[in-house]
Amino acid sequence: MELLAYILVDGLIYGAWLFIVSLGLTLVFGILNILNMAHGSLYAIGAYAAASAVGAYFALGGEAFPFGSYAAMVIGAIFVALILGPLLEYGLLRHFYGRDHVILVLVTYGVFLILEDAMKLIWGVTPLFVSEPYSLLGNVEFGPLYYVTYDFLVIAVAILVGLGVWFVLNRTKRGKVVLAVIHDREMSKTMGVNVDRVFLISFTLGVFLAALGGALTAPMISVSPSIGVNVIILAFAVVIIGGLGSIEGAAIGALFVGIARAASVHLLPEAELFVIYLVMAIVLVFRPEGLFQKTQARKI
């Protein structure tokens, strides 16, 4: 029982984190049809920006009201999104739309390489620590289980952000316009949609979500240049399991992976390395296009 509770809570916490990290990826893929390899770097930059922002906050006398550091984290992420979103979408990606899928993947791979070194140039290799926000909320205890409250904050944020994005996309006119753009850019233009703006905003939102993921993680880790590399493959897996471009899918996929991983760490630690690929392979065997696969449009 206790074990089960551990697995569920651990899985949920990890899944929530994964979900935030994957959401931006699935969004950008869904709308712009770009599999953004630089997503992990954006995550890392978000972590750096948040760490810097929190550091600055405390340096400027934030001790008096430490909870303000949460705002600092979010502002850091917004900052990253507002700078890098337009810069990358407008300055770079836009010139490659209409080229082959893999070319765009490669372009973002190039961006990934550049950003990795850019981070080193900006922040150096010495890691940043801002663990204050992590312990600020204290701990929670349910019986034998003992967690840091911050972990549950991450869950809450994941739920909020996920619902928010889902609602905008599926329940608002703007969201439906985005659906039209996803399917047919040219046609949407002729129906009066400013497609360029939709792309710019969506990509910036994607960057924001990546950066937010990093910002939320920053207090738990030592922020150093390589933290983005592993994130990307995890996020890919989650997005694939869920079905590309599907927000619900990413949520379920993240939960799947989170719980599978927790179960393996507690029960069969040797298998941890395989778990994510195994989950992915199994899901794809039964649902070749992910859990929330899109119904194919009629061709004939």
């Binding site: 206790e2 312990s135 003992y146 967690y147 738990m220 933290i227 590399v229 507690h266």
Partner: protein
């Protein structure tokens, strides 16, 4: 005349911050000091290497063994370096020696830990100036035993690659000899650079072992400490970090008190506590230049470069002052011994190609007065106490109960 050394270490990637960059910083520092001449105490007071200025060519070690073999060839065949000194990753350390011998290029492995290099092979031109990793975990186990630390149950969290797997295997084997009652509760192997240890920490809390062993390093170790601290793991279990010293400058007081820490040799704080003039020189010069105290990596870089210096100068003494050839260097290096900031380095294993060195284990204690982390209860182990004798494989030596160990 100059002596060209290719220096290969991590300048990017996950190991850069904890090992590669500090090592390169230490190396650059030492090379400058040596080139100035007369700064170091004798026998290191000659400028450069036997009067030749040292020219270092840094190469990034990230990218895997394949790439490193290629870079190694480039260094030797294209850049015509006189020696290569490098390699933190044990995969690279295994891949390079055959090539070094094929190209007849004098090569010093300065950091990597795997015992396999000279236990499974023998090379003419390749030397390792640092002890292999078995020492670290043997020392840890000895520390448990001699300090009487309760260790009826042990658990481990180590990265899922050779370093982590070997460290855990060595530790468990050593414990089974020294503390035979110890029982293994769980052995976790998270992926390297995982960064998120919430689940692992839950598992460790759940099994509630007396001792938690870990050979995590770098960002992983920092993240683990940051995440495990608030969840009370350090209060529940005695945590022992086989190579944990290098995260102390960054973590500061976030590293809890009472953690058992090794530094892969008598390096860092443990060396400082037992200081020789050479140690103090490194310590002060490094602190002045980079604003933090030196941890294990610069110590190992220094012992490598100083060893190279000794070899060059010995060879020159033998050949009448000419720039030595690779063969001459190899001959001079074989079985050599020299003083380093980390103590006496002796090339006694692997037919005189593999070093042994003394080790030290301590326990963390935050010093409020100075605002610095210190090590207390430090135990020093002589090289022969924690390293196998020549011709014996480390793991066999452990299983056999350390026959012939000479401890002070």
């Amino acid at each position: 005349e100059t002596f060209k050394v290719g220096i290969v270490t991590f300048l990017s990637g996950g190991a850069a911050e904890s090992f590669g960059i500090p090592a390169w910083n230490g190396g650059e520092l030492l090379i400058n000091l040596l080139n100035q001449g007369g700064v170091l105490p004798p026998p290191y007071d000659q400028p450069g290497f036997g009067g030749m200025m040292i020219e270092a060519i840094p190469v990034d070690e990230s990218g895997g063994a394949t790439k490193q073999v290629q870079e190694f060839r480039n260094l030797v065949q294209r850049e015509n370096v006189d020696a290569v000194l490098g390699y933190v990753s044990s995969g690279d350390c295994l891949a390079i020696p055959p090539v070094a011998d094929e190209l007849k290029a004098f090569t010093i492995l300065y950091d990597c830990g795997t015992p396999r290099v000279f236990e499974e092979g023998s090379y003419e031109y390749v030397f390792r100036t640092a002890a292999h990793a078995a020492m670290d975990n043997i020392s840890l186990a000895r520390y448990m035993e001699s300090r009487g630390i309760e260790a009826n149950t042990i658990a481990g969290i180590n990265q899922d690659y050779a370093w982590g797997q070997d460290s855990w295997a060595d530790f468990v084997a050593s414990m089974s000899v020294l503390v035979p009652d110890a029982e293994v509760e769980t052995a976790l192997f998270p992926k390297i650079f995982a960064g998120q240890y919430g689940t692992e920490i839950s598992a460790l809390i759940r099994v509630n072992a007396d001792v938690v062993h870990s050979s995590l390093w770098g960002g992983d170790l920092q993240a683990f400490v940051l995440q495990a601290g608030p969840r009370g793991l350090f209060e529940r279990s005695q945590v022992a970090l086989a190579a944990g010293d290098h995260v102390m400058p960054q973590l500061g007081n976030k590293m809890p008190d009472g953690v058992i820490i090794g530094a892969r040799g008598m390096n860092g704080l443990a060396a400082r506590a037992n200081a020789s003039p050479l140690t103090n020189l490194l310590w002060e010069a490094y602190e002045e230049e980079y604003g933090v105290f030196p941890v294990q990596a610069p110590f190992r870089m220094w012992q490598g470069i100083l060893g190279l210096k000794v070899a060059v100068e010995t060879a020159m003494a033998a050949n009448g002052g000419n720039k030595p050839t690779a063969e001459e260097l190899a001959a001079a290096m074989t079985g050599q011994e020299w003083e380093a900031p980390s103590g006496l380095i002796q090339m006694v294993l692997g037919n005189g190609h593999q070093a042994i060195q003394p080790n030290a284990i301590g326990t963390t204690k935050w010093d409020d007065a100075t605002g610095q982390m210190t090590l207390v209860d430090i135990e020093y182990y002589s090289a022969t106490c924690v390293n196998p004798p020549a011709g014996v494989k480390a793991i066999d030596w452990i299983h056999d109960g350390f026959p012939g160990a000479v401890c002070d």
